[in-house]
Structure formats: structure tokens, C-alpha cells
């Protein structure tokens, strides 16, 4: 199976689900198709897309980042505690201080994980707790304020037409896709996630790649925190906590394997959409928010079933040559193992 077919198999199910939900929702409640509602959705999914991208990078390299919540929280708090008057220097400060903080935290995570050889789940759980503590030291209760022009620029419209959040996350996804698919660094991330020993033996500087992968995760987490601060116009130290598990879910739904080496960033919009689309629909239909948890759980399970490799194998057997001609040929050749 070549790269293109693999991509199609990864991303088609998720976007199909989204389109189905979208059309059904639009038929039931026409408000859903209005431009304003969609702009609102773009704004809502942007922080989750950043968090999901961060998690995707780490998961592709075979790791996991549970400190993403703390990174979002601390950059959010830092962005809102900087001086807020609208001067160019302040805007530059707002851009660079949280970003460098996120990068530094990510690099520290990477250093501990690669140099110590500890499991990433626990290391990032621990560093997450530590940075959450630091965040609470900086700002124990929600507060702070950010520059008005920054907030307008980030959540407003570009050239009065394109919503800036849409522009921001599309550019980021394209850049991430380029890094992953068209650079040496991206290739080494996939190699590292596939098999670390083989990657090491074929001359990839594993430790260096690992450190930078966590660095990028910190950077993207910082983007998410900054966007949240601009959107809310203030900061909340605990805002990142829901993003820990949601980012993992988004990355997995968008087709990235938790064991590393497989997946990409193209499906991430779909993954993030699933989370808020449903909330949005149920809100528009006036259904109690309690049912949203059930719906979210069910849709998550459904999406997981469609994107999980185990189920794809089963489907392969059921439908035989209909949808998976290549798979059947492989099977006829006596190769039962999953080949992708």
C-alpha cells in the first residue's frame, strides 16, 4: 500500500462522519449552515487543533505528552500577565515570551525523557504537575488582561473576509504537514516512532529528534495558550486541564497511532470538529447539556471504531475485494499480517 492510499484510508472515515453529521444537522436546524455559526465553530476548535497538533507530533515519535495541559495553562497565564497597553514592544513581548516559555518547557521534557530513558507518560504527568504548580504560583485565580489590538487581530477577520482563526490553524496545519512529509526531520520522526532501534542503527540522531519533538509540542501548546488568552481576553491557570485528554483523543481520531510511526496532521480538523460539532448541534436543537456527554462518548467510540486498525482488518475480511483489493491480494499471498 503506497503512501497515498494509506492517507486516504486514514482520513476518509473521519471526514465522512463529519460530513454526515453536518448535513443531518443542517437539515434539522438551518441556523447551522449560517456563516456566523461556522465562524464561531472555527474559533472554538482552534485551541484544540493546536493541542492536537502538539500531541500528534509527540505520538508520531512514539511518545505521549500529558504536560500539554500545564503548558497551555502556563503560557495562557504568562500571556495575560504581560503589560497590556497597545505598544509595538508589548505586542512583540506577547508574541515571544509565551512561545519561548512553551518551547523551553517542551525541551526540558524532551531532555528528561531522552537522556533518562524514562517512559514519557509518567515524566510528562510529573512535569505537568510541577508546571501546574508554577502556574498556580504565578496566578492563583483567573485574571489578567491582554492587549485589545492583539485580541482583535487574533479573533477578528483578516482583510474583513477570512476569519483569522481559520487562517491561523490552516497555515499551522500546512506548515506541520510540510515539516512531517517533506523534511529530513519529519522523516526521522516517523522512523523513530516506527522502531527506535532501527532508527538509531540507520543513523538517525534519536535523542536529538526526541528532544525537538517535545520542543515543538511545547511550542504548539504555547500557541494554544496564547490563542485562548486572546480569545478570552484574560487568563485562567486551570484552562489547560481538559485539553490533556481531549488532545490525545483528537490525535487518535485523526488517524495517528498511539504506538507511533503512523498518521499525520491532515485529519486533525476533523478530529477537533467532532468534539464541538456535536455540542453545537445539540445546543442549537435546545437539548439538555447532560445528553452532550453521552453523545460525545458515543461519537468518540464510533469514530474510534472506524479509525482503529483492528476494525479495518475485520472490514477487510468482510468486504473482501470490494473496498480493499490490495488487502485481499496480500492475504491470498499467504500474508495475514497487517501490511501498512
Amino acid at each position: 500500500m503506497n503512501e497515498k492510499q494509506q492517507n486516504i484510508r486514514l482520513y476518509i472515515p473521519i471526514y465522512l462522519i463529519i460530513v454526515c453529521i453536518y448535513i443531518i444537522a443542517g437539515v434539522i436546524q438551518p441556523i447551522f449552515f449560517t456563516w456566523n455559526n461556522n465562524v464561531n465553530l472555527f474559533t472554538r476548535i482552534t485551541p484544540l487543533i493546536f493541542a492536537g497538533l502538539a500531541q500528534t507530533f509527540v505520538m508520531l515519535a512514539g511518545g505521549i505528552d500529558l504536560s500539554i495541559g500545564a503548558i497551555i495553562g502556563i503560557t495562557n497565564v504568562i500571556a495575560a500577565s504581560l503589560p497590556c497597553p497597545d505598544t509595538p514592544i508589548n505586542i512583540i513581548l506577547w508574541l515571544f515570551v509565551p512561545l519561548s516559555a512553551g518551547l523551553a518547557i517542551g525541551l526540558i521534557n524532551g531532555l528528561i525523557i531522552s537522556k533518562g530513558g524514562f517512559p514519557p507518560l509518567i515524566v510528562t504527568l510529573a512535569t505537568g504537575a510541577i508546571w501546574l504548580g508554577v502556574t498556580l504560583c504565578i496566578m492563583p485565580i483567573p485574571g489578567g488582561i491582554i492587549s485589545l489590538s492583539v485580541s482583535r487581530a487574533v479573533t477578528g477577520k483578516l482583510f474583513k473576509v477570512i476569519p483569522s482563526p481559520l487562517f491561523i490553524f490552516l497555515t499551522t496545519i500546512i506548515i506541520c504537514h510540510f515539516i512531517l512529509r517533506r523534511t529530513k526531520f519529519g522523516r526521522s520522526i516517523y522512523a523513530l516512532g516506527g522502531d527506535e532501534t532501527i532508527a538509531y542503527e540507520s543513523g538517525i540522531p534519536c535523542n536529538k529528534v526526541k528532544i525537538w519533538v517535545y520542543g515543538i509540542s511545547g511550542l504548539l501548546g504555547a500557541c494554544s495558550g496564547m490563542f485562548l488568552s486572546a480569545w478570552m481576553f484574560s487568563a485562567d491557570p486551570l484552562i489547560g486541564q481538559p485539553y490533556i485528554l481531549n488532545s490525545i483523543a483528537v490525535a487518535v481520531i485523526s488517524g495517528t497511532s498511539l504506538s507511533g510511526g503512523r498518521g499525520g496532521v491532515i485529519g486533525i480538523i476533523g478530529g477537533a470538529y467532532i468534539f464541538y460539532l456535536l455540542n453545537n448541534i445539540l445546543n442549537l436543537l435546545g437539548i439538555s447539556s447532560f445528553y452532550q456527554f453521552v453523545a460525545k462518548g458515543l461519537i468518540l467510540i464510533l469514530a474510534l471504531i472506524f479509525t482503529s486498525s483492528g476494525v479495518n482488518l475485520e472490514l477487510k475480511e468482510w468486504f473482501g475485494g470490494y473496498f480493499y483489493k490490495k488487502g485481499r491480494l496480500l492475504k491470498k499471498a499467504g500474508n495475514d499480517e497487517q501490511k501498512d
Binding site: 504527568l125 504548580g133 487518535v252 452532550q292 453521552v294 482503529s308
Partner: protein, 327 residues
């Protein structure tokens, strides 16, 4: 000669269970440290109070230990606890006669949802992290729908006695229950076929499958047990708090994982056990208690939790590296 053999045996015992000795040493050190900070920390009543708090975490971590030993993880423990807590209060409604069937029914629910996530993990090969997350969201929704967002009901006197009372005015009942459950859990994990299977699956699932173990069924069972213990933990918490509370389980997702990891169980599965988790739960609660006694703010407590996990992890993994070097 005889003495030599016994010496070797003891040495083997110590070297095999170095982590356990280290952990219980740490428990004792922390208790003594607490006593130097504030007199009366080692008071019998206070020790009992700490163990009582640890027992809830210990019971919840029981299932988490089993799930992690199979190489998975259970993130649905938080919602499970909340469900147990809310539903038990709702069904009991202050009546002693309702207690038994309410707890049994709630445990049945836990097994049901646990096996649901187990089925997804084992048969559909969905990664446990996300599957249990999704099932957790489902459970949260169901709890909210049935409690209408405002949980009602009261714990019965019997449940209250279990939560806060003590046997013969000496040993808190909840600690006694924890003891019985831990003995059962240790027996299950170390001295039963099922336990062996769990360790094999965690160590190498493919090899376990080819040696004729029904890996999928065993995994599903592991998640059902995890659901049952989490819900039971929530139900017993109802005895402690008297009323239901919708946010009671939220913290326990990460706490239970932390207790298991501090207890020396490897997240890759197949290594560790419940004996360590008991120490992990006690250490976790002790640390909180000591920092509270020292008047530390929430922020510092969080940092200390993170720091102790990092330190213990570095100790465990350095040990493993040393082993690799020797052999």
C-alpha cells in the same frame, strides 16, 4: 551450610523486591519526618485518619493496577467513581434495607461499563487510553442524566458506619475492608491462573496468545474488575461524605495512575503488583498530609507530587539499567 542457603534466600528476596522495600522504607521515613514537623503526627488516630484517606485511593487503584498490568490504562475510573457515589446515594436514600442491593447494582453497572471498554480495547483493538476516555464521557453523561445535575439522596447508617466508624473503637472499618480486598487482590494476581495470565499478557501479548491464553477475554475481564473496584470505591466514599457529589471522581483519574506508578508497576505492563500500589497510595496521601501540615499552598503540593514521581521513576529506571549492564 544451612545458614548460607537461608542467607542467599533472603538476599534473593531483597534483591527481587528491592522496590517494595524501598517504598515501605519511604513510608516509614515520611511518617517519622511528619512527626518531627508536628508532634502527634504518629498519633494512632492520625495514622488511622491517613490510612482511611489512603484506603479509598487504594481500592480505586486496585483495578487500575490490574488494567496497567495488562499493558493498558483505565481513564474511566474518575467517572466510574462519580457514578458509584451518585447512584448509591440515590438508591439508598437513607434506608438501611436498600444498602446491599444498591451497592450490588452499582457494582454490576461498573462491571457492565468496564467490560464495554474492555471489549473495545481487546476485540476492536482500540487504544485503551482513548477507549476508556470515551466510555468515561459516556458514564459522565449517564450520571448527569439520571441525577438531573443535582444528585439527591443520603447514605444509610450502615454505609456511614463503614465510611467513618471503627471496629471495636479501634480499627476503622474502611481500613479493614481495604485489607480484605488487598489480600484478595494479591491472591488473585500472584497465586491464581487469572493473575498469571494478566502478567503474561502485559509482558508479551503475542506470546501469551500463542501459548493458548484467551488474551481478549482476559483483558476484558481486567477492565471489568477495574470498573467494579472504581465503582465500589465511589460507593464507599458515599459513606464518608454522607451525600453525593458530582465532582468526586475527577481527581482520582491521575491520582490512581500516580499511585500505581509510584508503587513500581511498569506502564508497559507485566511488571509490578498490588503490594507496591498500597505503598504508592499511602505515600501519595502522606505527602499531601505532610505538606498540608506544613501550611503549603496547593501550588507547592502539586509541584511536590510531580517531583516525587520523577525522583522515584529515576530510581526505578536506573536500577533496570544497572541490571542490563550486569547481565
Amino acid at each position: 551450610m544451612n545458614r548460607k542457603i537461608s542467607n542467599i534466600k533472603i538476599n534473593n528476596l531483597i534483591s527481587q523486591n528491592k522496590v517494595i522495600f524501598l517504598l515501605y522504607g519511604l513510608v516509614i521515613i515520611l511518617f517519622i519526618f511528619g512527626n518531627t514537623i508536628s508532634k502527634g503526627f504518629l498519633n494512632y488516630n492520625h495514622v488511622c485518619a491517613i490510612l482511611r484517606t489512603a484506603s479509598f485511593l487504594g481500592i480505586v487503584s486496585m483495578g487500575q493496577t490490574i488494567a496497567i498490568l495488562t499493558g493498558g490504562i483505565d481513564l474511566s475510573v474518575g467517572p466510574m467513581i462519580t457514578m458509584g457515589n451518585v447512584f448509591v446515594c440515590m438508591f439508598i436514600n437513607g434506608q438501611n434495607s436498600n444498602t446491599l442491593w444498591a451497592i450490588l447494582f452499582v457494582i454490576f453497572l461498573g462491571v457492565l461499563f468496564g467490560s464495554f471498554s474492555g471489549l473495545g480495547v481487546a476485540y476492536l483493538k482500540i487504544s485503551p487510553l482513548v477507549m476508556t476516555l470515551a466510555v468515561g464521557s459516556l458514564i459522565t453523561g449517564i450520571t448527569l442524566i439520571f441525577s438531573k445535575g443535582a444528585p439527591k439522596g443520603l447514605a444509610s447508617p450502615i454505609l456511614r458506619y463503614i465510611g467513618v466508624g471503627s471496629l471495636f473503637d479501634l480499627l476503622p472499618v474502611i481500613i479493614f475492608i481495604w485489607l480484605i480486598l488487598s489480600v484478595l487482590c494479591i491472591l488473585l494476581l500472584n497465586f491464581s491462573v487469572f493473575g498469571r495470565k494478566i502478567y503474561y499478557i502485559g509482558a508479551n501479548e503475542k506470546a501469551a496468545f500463542f501459548s493458548g491464553i484467551k488474551t481478549n477475554f482476559t483483558k476484558t475481564m481486567a477492565y471489568s474488575i477495574s470498573g467494579a473496584t472504581a465503582v465500589l470505591g465511589g460507593a464507599l466514599m458515599a459513606g464518608y461524605t454522607q451525600t453525593a457529589f458530582l465532582g468526586i471522581g475527577d481527581e482520582y483519574i491521575l491520582w490512581s495512575i500516580a499511585a500505581v506508578v509510584i508503587g513500581g508497576t511498569a506502564l508497559t505492563g507485566g511488571k509490578g503488583g498490588y503490594v507496591g500500589t498500597i505503598a504508592g497510595a499511602i505515600i501519595f496521601v502522606l505527602l499531601e498530609s505532610i505538606l498540608t501540615v506544613m501550611n503549603m499552598p496547593e501550588a507547592v503540593r502539586k509541584m511536590a507530587n510531580g517531583a516525587i514521581i520523577l525522583i522515584l521513576i529515576s530510581i526505578y529506571y536506573n536500577q533496570e539499567k544497572a541490571k542490563v549492564k550486569i547481565y
